[in-house]
């Protein structure tokens, strides 16, 4: 008798647990922003800003979920395989999402760039050639001259091998003919102290790292015109080199999300990104707000993919 009652209570309890309500309208539960990296990293800070300023713009709260591992591969593979119901959005970084599928060995499982449907572009981060303020070289030309005279002796920090920073280094080596000693670090959190403590002589990497450091100088920046966040740093174009190197970041969704859901997400993120307070916060984090629509972001991805493919073929990394 008591057992039967308990079983009924238990059954009722278990059936009431599922949190998802059968959707009457979208969105009916929080939208998750999937971060492919650890909490506290650059992506996390960007997504936290979205979460903060999403209140009042989105009908349900935005929440951040984490799926770190394998340099983003795990998170992006999860994103590509997620249910296309509009409740999972993922932060994507270029050039990672074009490089990873390109560099994968045959037989290795993982996502393809096309599996991630571009939702919108959010920000970009220009690449900067950084050195300490007390280095012997004060201009890019001096650095290159020294490097040409001492090939393989100038230690340059990059985040990862065959990553965005490494491509940046390759572009510089190709354009100037100088040869550097690459010292790859696992993240900007490791590369920054390496430059500050003198373990390396220069750091070819993200502008957001440059803006976090003190007592460092930027020798060149990879934007077409002077970068608003560090206007004293000359562009490569001004110095006579045809190098453009920027890291874009945006949001993507799994393929086959229904069109009205996608349109809702894109329009609401557009509203969020138009908020001047949000833009100010993004600039304080060292990134440049630059919202663009899904179609424009798809064009950027295609362009980056072509550029990376040709650069890697030239250096003999891929066939």
């Amino acid at each position: 008798m008591g057992l039967l009652r308990f079983l009924t209570v238990l059954a009722a309890f278990l059936l009431a647990l599922p949190a998802g309500v059968v959707a009457a309208g979208y969105p009916s539960k929080p939208v998750a922003i999937l971060t492919a990296f650890n909490p506290g990293g650059g992506s996390d800070v960007s997504h936290r800003l979205l979460e903060k300023y999403g209140k009042g713009v989105f009908d349900t709260p935005l929440i951040i979920t984490y799926k770190p591992g394998a340099g983003g591969e795990i998170g992006w593979t999860t994103l590509a395989a997620a249910r296309p119901d509009g409740y999972t959005v993922g932060g994507v970084d270029l050039p990672h999402i074009v490089l990873q599928p390109m560099l994968r060995k045959k037989g290795q499982p993982g996502y393809q760039t096309e599996d991630l449907f571009p939702l919108c572009g959010l920000v970009y981060d220009a690449n900067v050639v950084m050195a300490r303020a007390d280095s012997p070289w004060k201009t890019f030309a001096e650095l290159i001259a020294f490097a040409r005279a001492n090939p393989g002796k100038v230690r340059v920090a990059t985040v990862g091998k065959l990553s965005g920073d490494h491509l940046f280094l390759m572009q510089i080596e190709k354009a100037t003919g100088a040869k550097f000693a690459q010292v790859p670090y696992a993240g900007s959190g490791k590369a920054i102290p390496a430059l500050l403590t003198g373990e390396v002589d220069a750091y070819f990497g993200s502008g957001s790292s440059f803006l976090r450091m003190e007592n460092t100088i930027g020798l060149a920046v990879g934007t077409r015109e002077r970068y608003a966040l560090c206007p004293d740093v000359p562009t490569f174009k001004e110095l006579g080199y045809d190098i453009e190197s920027i890291k874009f970041r945006g949001l993507a969704i799994p393929r086959n999300v229904p069109e009205p859901v996608r349109a809702y997400l894109e329009s609401h993120f557009a509203r969020l990104c138009a908020n001047p307070e949000y833009q100010e916060a993004v600039r304080n984090g060292g990134l440049m707000p630059a919202f663009c629509s899904g179609r424009e972001f798809a064009d950027i991805i295609a362009r980056e993919k072509a550029a990376a493919a040709s650069l890697l073929k030239e250096f003999g990394v891929i066939k």
Binding site: N38, P39, G40, G41, D44, V45, R48, L49, E51, K52, I63, I64, T65, Y66, K67, P68, G69, A70, G71, E73, I74, T77, Q100, L103, K105, G107, Q108, P109, G110, G152, K153, V154, R155, G160, K161, L162, S163, A181, Q182, V183, P184, Y185, A186, G187, G189, K190, I192, P193, A194, L196, T197, E199, V200, R212, M213, E214, A281, N284, G285
Partner: protein, 500 residues
């Protein structure tokens, strides 16, 4: 400089105090549930801090951090499962003490040690930030490598009598840490071409598996048999007795505090490494080293003082240089930036009020944890009274849930299961799980230091010389060598004495 009255008025605001107390409780719970950690706690609490003042937000997050470092000791003592990786060493003496029926004393020891360590670390943060930040800048890749090698030598003392098996266990742990994608070259290693193994074997699910599951399996008894744990007898006055015994052993606390702060300021080394070094060094300088592992106070004091001192130490480079000294400090740094605060020496001059409110507030936070802790100890100790089979089932269920909730990863639960069975086999085969756990924790950091030193050495022209050229490296190498020689000499003389 800062305005003392502003700091005082900030801290006497009742809303702030309530927020701090709530955050500290949350932190203790996060640390106490195996699988959840301070890092996750800070990340989870962050959205709730958007609506409050920056100094309140910092105090809330800092309280979570301090609370979680204490909370991690609770399951270490009660169920031999580290609540956080930094509480691993607490299991060595904490659990045996609980098994002897002195669970309350063990928990109070951990509490007082944690508070002492926390206050020690915050004092360093308040008064020694500048010089310590300068020291933190002088540590580089070779030092990271040698520090890990030094930490690995404690295998010799963890597995006295069977050093060979300890070394094999550590090598297995180091190999396990290589599974997955190499963080630098992005090449997958030992993944057998599966997606599941790409992320590697995460440390915390593996620790849960290695410690909780064998513990649960070894507690299985035929129905009605005598329970393996001595009955817990509540006695009044345990707290004061513990405080008195703590003061008699204050040198342990001092030594561990210093180790915690020093290792905490090194970017790349956090609570995990620091507690191993503290435990080992305390044992080395103790008059009764053979009692370590049987449940003595010093064995709990050393890691607990240390991991709470790391909280203060890791935040020194975080606030002054923007370089976090540990994983939770990294999340706090992200939180700082979300609130518009830019780390650096400018923070101490332009936003001095916030920084000093935070640092002094951490002292208050630690005192709050002391009060909360007394309450939590009574709560957790009553949990020991539930029948053994309920406890067992709960441990196993929490292992699954804890392992899953870290990264919402099915693979983590499978790692936990695999490591659980492996751990049981290792314990029965007299290998012990601690060396494997140590290898797994240190593997990534060790390899990173190794690879970076290789690259830097190549740029200098002479790879081998680079490992041995810097004075800081030589100091660590000397410590490692001394540690090994000392261990061998003790083992040798003990055998000679036994033979005589």
């Amino acid at each position: 400089m800062f305005d003392f009255s502003t700091v005082l008025s900030n801290l006497s605001d009742p809303v702030t105090l309530v927020l701090m107390a709530a955050s500290a409780s949350f932190g203790i719970v996060m640390g106490a549930v195996p699988g959840l950690s301070g890092t996750l706690g800070i990340a989870l609490l962050l959205p709730f801090t958007f609506g409050v003042e920056p100094h309140q937000a910092l105090l809330m997050l800092g309280s979570v951090y301090c609370g979680s470092e204490y909370g991690g000791s609770i399951p270490s003592i009660l169920i031999n499962t580290p609540g956080t990786a930094a509480a691993l060493c607490t299991t060595f003496d904490g659990h045996p003490m609980a098994m002897k029926g002195q669970a309350q004393k063990a928990l109070f020891t951990a509490l007082i040690a944690s508070i002492f360590g926390g206050l020690f670390g915050v004092t360093a943060l308040l008064f020694l930030s500048s010089p310590l930040a300068a020291v933190s800048m002088s540590f580089g890749a070779p030092e990271q490598f040698w520090l890990c090698v030094f930490a690995l030598t404690i295998i010799a003392s963890l597995s006295s009598g069977n050093v060979l098996k300890g070394i094999l266990g550590a090598l297995l742990g180091l190999l396990l840490s290589c599974v997955g994608m190499d963080p630098v070259t992005a090449a997958p290693r030992f993944t057998f071409n599966t997606m599941e193994l790409m992320g590697g074997v995460n440390v915390v699910p593996a620790l849960i598996g290695l410690f909780a599951i064998p513990q649960a399996l070894m507690l299985l008894r035929p129905a009605g048999a005598r329970p393996p744990m001595a009955p817990y007898v509540p006695a009044p006055g345990v707290l004061w007795e513990t405080i008195r015994d703590f003061c008699r052993r204050i040198w342990v606390a001092g030594l561990s505090g210093v180790i915690g702060v020093v290792v905490g300021i090194m970017p790349g080394a956090g609570g995990n490494i620091a507690t191993f070094v503290a435990y080992n060094e305390t044992r080395r300088f103790s008059r009764t080293p053979e009692k370590f592992g049987t449940g003595i106070m010093e064995g709990i004091m050393a890691p607990e003082v240390c991991n709470n001192a790391v909280v203060g130490g890791a935040q020194i480079p975080m606030l002054t240089l923007g370089i976090p000294g540990s994983a939770p400090a990294a999340v706090m740094l992200g939180a700082l930036m979300t609130h518009g605060l830019k780390p650096g020496f400018a923070l101490f001059t332009e936003q001095a009020d916030i920084v000093y409110t935070y640092s002094v507030g951490l002292i208050l936070s630690n005192l709050m944890i002391l009060l909360l802790g007394c309450f939590f100890v009574r709560l957790f100790v009553t949990a020991l009274k539930i029948p053994a089979h309920y406890l067992l089932v709960s441990i196993m269920a929490m292992s699954v849930v804890g392992a899953y909730s870290i990264n919402s990863s099915t693979m983590d639960v499978m790692s936990m299961l695999g490591c659980g069975i492996l751990g049981y086999l290792l314990i029965r085969a007299r290998f012990g799980v601690a060396p494997l756990a140590l290898g797994l924790i240190l593997g990534g950091t060790l390899e990173e230091g190794f690879k970076l030193s290789l690259h830097l050495g190549e740029a200098e022209g002479n790879v081998v010389a680079f490992f041995f050229s810097r004075p800081q490296s030589l100091a660590l190498i000397a410590l490692t060598a001394l540690s090994l020689i000392y261990s061998f000499w003790k083992e040798f003389s003990a055998r000679k004495r036994a033979a005589a």
